[in-house]
């Protein structure tokens, strides 16, 4: 909703020009921004040879769906050695389940903690718990990969086998989360990044608003629900969208924890293919050996065009989440407009 340009005299030429200038600036940005998207789609529609032609073609000389067909056919068990087994919709459903549960539980849990940290705590307590919450994002994920994985195997122990109960020759009972969706969901519920987002937003709410409600005798939970939540709808929307993306995009952790073919997620399936097609990091000997049995795929001329297809496939659900999020964002704008 316009707020920076004066409301009065909207029709004055000077203001019209200003508005047009802003629109023009944003429009150019949009065009630049769309360029990569155009290129990714047009590349996915080019024949294999054209993709590496010098100079590159901006508009495909001939549109072909070969790359799309090849990629979508991968799940058909047409290879001696296969990377994905189930039809793609199974992976899609698995990912959707995991993501929805993780985001559904994660948002309230994280928002409550961030609210408490922002408005209920103060002093050293607030400082320490802030660091407690975001400290875990300062270590690269690979380092805790092995302990976390062992934790899913023998919850609550970070070791390959549970220890003995002292004085007996039996092991402690353990909970096996590994190879269940919960191994992915539980660690994804609390995300420090979401905490940062919420905390930042709650910090923008003036304390006076909260204090006024307290004077009216509202309990903290009610204040949160009645006063803070409605203001925070857009932030909830954005956070939901971003954490949707991060769970959806996560690859290594899901690969390590989900092993039954029917439990595999979308990202695992697509990333395995991308890794194979891009052969990043594998040496000559490795790539040649990988070709054993998947020759059809790798020999098919599926190069950049195939990878673009996979990149698009992987992005589509994020795009859908974005559309949903956008609706709530706009709804928030409408609310503000009434104020």
């Amino acid at each position: 909703m316009p707020a920076l340009l004066p409301k009065v005299g909207m029709r004055q030429p000077k203001l019209r020009y200003s508005r047009a200038a802003i629109a023009g600036f944003l429009g150019i940005g949009v065009l630049l921004h769309l360029l990569p998207f155009y290129y990714i789609i047009s590349t996915s529609l080019k024949p294999g040879a054209e993709v590496v032609r010098n100079p590159p073609t901006f508009i495909p000389s001939a549109i072909t769906f070969d790359a799309w067909k090849l990629v979508l056919r991968i799940g058909d068990e047409s290879q001696i050695v296969q990377l994905v087994k189930e039809p793609f919709w199974v992976y899609f459903a698995n990912s959707a389940f995991i993501t929805v549960i993780a985001v559904g539980i994660g948002l309230p849990v994280t928002a409550l903690a961030a609210y408490a940290n922002s408005k209920l705590q103060s002093g050293r307590g607030a400082r320490v718990s802030f660091l407690f919450f975001i400290g875990t994002m300062m270590v690269p994920f690979v380092v805790t990969l092995v302990p976390m994985y062992l934790l899913t195997l023998n919850f609550p122990f970070t070791m390959p086998d549970a220890p003995m109960i002292p004085g007996t020759d039996t092991e402690f009972p353990t909970l096996r989360l590994w190879d269940t969706p919960w191994a992915v969901i539980l660690p994804a519920i609390f995300v420090p990044f979401n905490f940062l987002l919420f905390k930042g937003f709650f910090d923008t709410i003036p304390n006076s608003v909260i204090n006024a409600a307290r004077v009216d005798g509202g309990s903290e939970l009610n204040i949160f629900r009645r006063i803070v939540m409605p203001m925070a709808v857009p932030v909830f929307a954005v956070t939901a969208y971003m954490s949707f993306g991060s769970v959806w995009d996560n690859f290594l952790w899901q690969l390590v924890t989900l092993q039954s073919p029917e439990k595999v997620t979308m990202s695992v399936a697509t990333y395995q293919l991308i890794e194979r097609l891009s052969t990043a990091g594998s040496t000559g000997g490795g790539a040649a050996a990988q070709a054993e049995g998947m020759g059809d795929l790798l020999n098919s001329g599926l190069t950049w065009n195939g990878m673009m297809v996979l990149a698009i496939l992987q992005s589509i659900p994020i795009f859908i989440a974005f559309l949903v999020c956008r609706e709530y964002l706009l709804r928030g704008i409408k609310i503000r407009g009434l104020k």
Binding site: T136, P187, R336
Partner: protein, 324 residues
């Protein structure tokens, strides 16, 4: 790390008392706090700090994935500190973070502010187009293709405009710059600013208008200050995230040329790949300390509460406990 850290100390509790109009007993207040904090705290403890603590213990050993292990004290740390490539990797990470923040941090803020000026229908579409999402790996692959010096799109644009052939990722002077550019296309931050701006009451702007504030002045005195906590958090996230950058250099250059794009986390991966588990952990802990330090400095240096008076001195910071 124990759990009692969230319990207010006396001073904080006293301060909380004066802040809250309703009188509630200490235990009630604490119980309420636990309801809010408890679940997140427990989850972060179990899935965050506990595995981290295990890794931390491992960094003092010659840990492998299997087999006997002995306690080696600070050997892994010494090894990492004496490794000349560690310093190089840290330098690359820091340059990457600085470049990335300078080049990509400010743009989404202004885009969000300007988008809010658009009529609803225009905004609806512009938002869609500006923040169109692409998965992170997809981004890396696309740009690796675009940067190819032979058949890449950028090369043909450069030569088409009459420039010499550009080395792009092949030049150690330029590689970090080109690696940062895809970050401009990333979709996240602008939406967050957009969401924050919506909680700024329009009355603020109307009041400013009555006082005769113009376009830029309104941005400077209202939009930006109201967004400050969020901007600060995003900045903190950008610092933490960029110092841990790994995926893009890995997928686009694999650290080259000459290690010019090997970030600290990439080096952690390299070491892990040599099955040097303890060294990798020790290096990560060093990175952890560096990031903690920077975050600490940031929180010290930047005031985040838009309603608080500006901080004037170091002394004030030290004495003013309420400010985080």
């Amino acid at each position: 790390m124990t759990t009692d850290i969230v319990v207010d100390d006396d001073a904080a509790a006293a301060e909380a008392d004066t802040r809250q109009p309703t009188t509630s007993s200490r235990s009630r207040r604490r119980r309420r706090l636990w309801i809010f904090l408890g679940p997140a705290l427990l989850l972060n403890l179990v899935w965050g700090w506990y595995p981290l603590a295990t890794s931390f213990v491992l960094s003092f050993t010659d840990a492998r994935l299997r087999g006997d292990v002995t306690f080696t004290g600070f050997e892994s740390y010494e090894r990492m500190i004496n490794d000349p490539l560690v310093a190089d990797a840290f330098r690359v990470s820091i340059i990457f973070a600085v470049l990335s923040i300078v080049l990509t941090f400010v743009v989404p803020i202004f885009v969000a502010i300007l988008l809010m000026e658009m009529p609803r229908r225009t905004m609806r579409w512009m938002m869609l187009l500006w923040f169109l999402p692409l998965s992170s790996v997809g981004t890396a692959i696309l740009w690796r293709y675009v940067y190819n010096t032979d058949y890449g799109l950028l090369q043909s644009i450069a030569t088409g405009l009459g420039f010499d052939r550009q080395p792009f990722l092949n030049s150690s002077d330029q590689v970090l710059f080109w690696l940062v550019i895809p970050g401009l296309v990333l979709y996240g931050p602008g939406l967050i600013y957009l969401a924050t701006l919506q909680s700024v009451p329009t009355s603020y702007y109307e009041a400013a208008e009555i006082e005769g504030a113009g376009f830029w002045r309104k941005i400077w005195t209202i939009s930006l200050p109201r967004m400050r906590p969020v901007i600060l958090m995003m900045l903190m996230f950008a610092v933490i995230g960029n110092l841990q950058q790994f995926e893009w250099p890995k997928l686009m250059t694999n650290g080259g040329p000459g290690g010019a794009s090997r970030t600290a986390v990439m080096y952690v991966y390299d070491i892990l790949n040599q099955l040097r588990y303890a060294d990798a952990t020790a290096l990560s802990i060093l990175l952890f300390v560096l990031i903690m330090l920077i975050v600490g400095i940031m929180r010290f240096a930047i005031r985040e509460d838009p309603d608080a008076p500006p901080r004037r001195s170091l002394r004030e910071f030290v004495t003013r406990k309420g400010d985080l």
